[in-house]
């Protein structure tokens, strides 16, 4: 197991290296000039040229890449062009809200999606099953921002149950923290619930047709015990795999949800950095997201051995 973890961690290094180089080149090759943004709308050509020089943007791209990469190897993401602050500091300022949003979203998703999927599988072919599938299709089809606005309209503007926007850290109290996270978490979780409920249903349905399930029923076990102990346990590996793969979905959703609900997290930092062509920040955030993605999928792989004792590393 230890060897497997070490190997996988080592394998992340070239992955992250490729991501870093790809993002770096993509930013340099797409239109836009941070110097023009920094100079402001009334900036003169001379001012823009001076800023380009000061930022080192006049250097050939391989030289810029070399400088950035050597700093990166020393753990230095560089300084934001705009805020004149270390990108690491900016990321640390923003990581809290995103982790909070992602965590509550995951909790809601698991609490809702897995039971929904199991029920749909158990009641296969009934109107409940069709209802869950219809919800799944709708949840997957409605864009996150549309759902966000609908929820804001209903629960913030009409019923006035939740705030329209904003984020309160846990340090401000549990209630304000949760109060501000309910709508964004529900918004973000719907697409995730749709995905996982569907996979859970399919996996459980497949297991329910296995001989050992028929045997379990024949032994006189209650349906709940059959479902939870025999079916779900055996269906868990694909479900957990999809949860891991869905992290990419979650990251994409975080970017939109944070914008709609004005949550000052990494998603909004990404959008702001992209719009402002803040290269060091974009590069760092994408590397962090990539690392999180790789790490979570490693944890998912490791969880297989807990869920299925036949799997050994």
């Amino acid at each position: 197991m230890f060897g497997f973890i070490v190997n996988r961690l080592i394998a992340t290094i070239p992955v992250l290296g490729m991501v870093a180089i790809f993002v770096f080149l993509m930013l340099r090759l797409t239109p836009g000039d941070p110097a023009a943004v920094l100079a402001g709308d009334n900036g003169t050509p001379q001012q823009i040229a001076e800023i380009r020089e000061a930022l080192g943007l006049n250097e050939p791209i391989p030289v810029q890449l070399g400088i950035w990469f050597s700093n990166l190897l020393q753990g230095d993401f560089g300084q934001s062009y705009f805020f004149k602050k270390d990108v690491t500091e900016l990321i640390l300022l923003r990581v809290g809200p995103t982790v909070a949003l992602a965590t509550t979203t995951l909790i809601i998703t698991i609490i809702v999606a897995i039971p929904l999927g199991i029920i749909a599988a158990y009641l296969h072919g009934t109107w409940i099953d069709r209802g869950v599938m219809a919800f799944s299709v709708a949840g997957f089809s409605i864009p996150v921002f549309v759902l966000g606005y609908i929820l804001v309209y209903l629960f913030a503007l009409e019923i006035k149950l939740f705030p329209v926007q904003g984020y309160k850290p846990l340090a401000d109290g549990f209630w304000p923290f949760i109060h501000h996270l309910v709508l964004p978490s529900i918004t973000l979780s719907v697409i995730y619930i749709a995905l996982i409920a569907r996979i859970t249903r399919a996996s459980v349905l497949e297991i329910l047709n296995e001989d050992y399930i028929r045997t379990a029923y024949a032994k006189g076990l209650k349906p709940t015990k059959v479902l939870m102990k025999h079916a779900l346990r055996n269906a868990a590996v694909p479900i957990v795999t999809v949860i891991g793969i869905g992290i990419a979905l979650l990251i994409g959703g975080v970017v939109v949800t944070e914008s709609v609900f004005n949550i000052p997290g990494l998603g909004r930092l990404t959008v702001d950095a992209v719009l402002g062509r803040d290269y060091p920040t974009i590069q760092a955030v994408i590397i962090v997201f990539s690392f999180v993605y790789v790490l979570i999928n490693l944890l998912i792989d490791l969880s297989y051995s807990l869920l299925d004792p036949r799997i050994r590393y």
Binding site: D41, P45, L90, A156, Q165, G166, N262, R277
Partner: protein
């Protein structure tokens, strides 16, 4: 005790504690905090280093100016108590008023002001022009300094009262001595608010505390001039990028003030109780239709004139602003409602005259060279300008290549002097706040000094002569006459076209915020919050 019961008890305790915590929060926050959504988030905290309007707005909070413009565009002393001009109009002596102090308690001195003017003048076009005439600046004593000119210059106080980017804000000498090419890191000012750098969360919130040591002038506040009396303890600039979310937050009372909500969302606010939307900047903004003089076909003056004949203001205004309450057709390139406003020479831009445009194109022998029109797609007030321009030009017979891009790409590309086919451009449209274009020295679009001119690079010795004459003229009546000649010349050679004047309202919770005053920038002194 099982876990279910524990969780239930925890949830109950949290639910009971919540109202108590909320109550504690209310009791502890007796101070008044104005929560504001600006048009963007604060990024650069050096209003001299960049021309970004957010940095200018920040500057007005934290710094003060020697002179300032009022709502009638008259110039008044602000940090200056009194000043004299020698008979030969070559020596200006400024005396600072009593009670001026930096946020760290040190008094504002002549040396501070001299260093600040020098740094500003290295960056700002109007400052650079001023410095061409300045022989020396010297401190007479701690509160008095002199500006000695080589020859009389008509825009000394106008330059020092420049209301928009870059504004000549005064900074402590130790800060102002920073190279103009480097951003400052010391945020000490002498203005009515103190920037709370320790509470600044970039991209989220910028916090300003009332400067309790600030001594306002006695005169009533008017734009950047007069008494800057602060009636709130804190101002928080909250970054909300999404317009709809910002408007919803205002309607629900989560914020108090929106600097510039888009006009298409105004009906939502007009129907909301306790919310007022009003134009605070009476001069508004002006759309600009800008041509690139470097490359065909607009290196030919007749073809440039043909483009001007093809467009009109109403087309742009209707497509972008829509509601006539928020726009006005205006022939004056120096903005309607100002002392230099004139309609001379503007006939060509007021009405789309396609036959004239076709005639000019025929006379010029236009060969169908493609015209690259850059269209910004992500700034509400600019989105529709490109397609309208393209449509008008097509009707006149231009071969138009409309290219859509985000604003940041556009501002990058407009600085490229390459041919349009190699990444350059022929036409773009933008908008100026009126306070940036009140005279031909301030307004970048009139510069016609070839490669050093603003994007588009007009090259016209006659225009440069006229601008120079304007700058040297000390008689305001004569300046007006020269400004007329400059407008006429600008439209003759088609440096650019004034494509209409428009007004962006601000919105606020009128049930709790009162005495809001207007200006070319958002003003947070004078107003009160219940």
């Amino acid at each position: 005790m099982n876990w279910g019961r524990k969780i239930a008890q925890g949830a109950m305790a949290a639910a009971l504690a919540a109202p108590m915590m909320a109550g504690l929060g209310t009791a502890a926050s007796a101070e008044t905090t104005l929560r504001v959504v600006m048009h963007s988030d604060l990024k650069i905290v050096d209003p001299i280093w960049t021309t970004a309007y957010m940095s200018r707005n920040y500057g007005y909070m934290v710094y003060d100016t020697l002179f300032a413009m009022d709502e009638n565009t008259n110039i008044h002393p602000q940090m200056v108590d009194s000043y004299t001009v020698s008979d030969d109009k070559k020596t200006y002596t400024f005396t600072l008023r009593d009670g001026l102090a930096w946020h760290d308690g040190a008094p504002v001195t002549s040396e501070d002001c001299i260093a600040s003017i020098k740094r500003w003048a290295k960056k700002d076009g109007m400052g650079q022009k001023l410095m061409e005439f300045v022989k020396e600046m010297k401190a007479v004593d701690a509160k008095t300094f002199q500006m000695v000119l080589n020859e009389p210059y008509g825009l000394v106080t106008t330059s020092l009262a420049k209301p928009s980017s870059n504004v000549p804000f005064m900074m402590p000498k130790r800060v102002a001595d920073t190279s103009a090419d480097e951003q400052i890191t010391d945020y000490t000012g002498s203005g009515p608010f103190i920037f709370k750098a320790d509470e600044w969360r970039p991209g989220d919130v910028a916090v300003f505390a009332k400067n309790t040591a600030y001594v306002p002038r006695k005169e009533p506040a008017s734009w950047g001039s007069g008494g800057k009396v602060v009636n709130v303890d804190r101002v928080e600039w909250i970054s909300i990028k999404d317009h709809q979310t910002a408007v919803n937050a205002l309607i629900e009372g989560e914020v108090d003030y929106l600097e510039s909500p888009p006009t298409d969302l105004l009906p939502l606010m007009e129907g909301a109780e306790g919310v007022t939307a009003k134009i605070l900047n009476p001069l508004g903004n002006q759309f600009m239709f800008r041509l690139n003089h470097l490359h065909p076909p607009f290196d030919n003056v007749k073809i440039r004139r043909a483009a001007l004949a093809a467009i009109d203001q109403i087309g742009f205004l209707q497509a972008v602003i829509g509601n006539p309450d928020y726009y006005k057709e205006c022939p004056a390139m120096f903005v309607c409602g100002t002392s230099l406003a004139t309609d001379k020479g503007a006939e060509i831009i007021m009405k789309s005259d396609i036959p004239l445009a076709k005639k000019l194109l025929a006379e010029a022998g236009y060969d169908g060279t493609p015209v690259v029109v850059m269209q910004s797609t992500d700034v509400d007030v600019l989105n529709n300008l490109g397609p309208v321009a393209a449509d008008k030009l097509k009707r006149a017979g231009f071969n138009v290549d409309l290219q859509a891009m985000d604003w940041q790409t556009l501002v990058s590309r407009r600085s490229k002097k390459e041919k349009p086919a190699d990444g350059g451009w022929n036409v773009f449209m933008t908008s100026w706040t009126a306070a940036d274009i009140l005279n031909p020295i301030m307004a970048a679009g009139f510069r016609a000094n070839c490669g050093d001119a603003w994007f588009g690079w007009p090259c016209d010795a006659e225009m440069e002569k006229l601008r120079d004459r304007f700058a040297r003229e000390t008689n305001p009546d004569e300046q007006k006459l020269i400004a007329v000649d400059i407008q006429v010349r600008a439209l003759e050679i088609a440096t650019h076209a004034n494509a209409g004047q428009w007004y962006g309202p601000s919105a606020w919770r009128s049930d709790r915020v009162s005495d809001v005053i207007g200006g070319p920038m958002p003003i947070f002194w004078n107003l009160s919050k219940k």
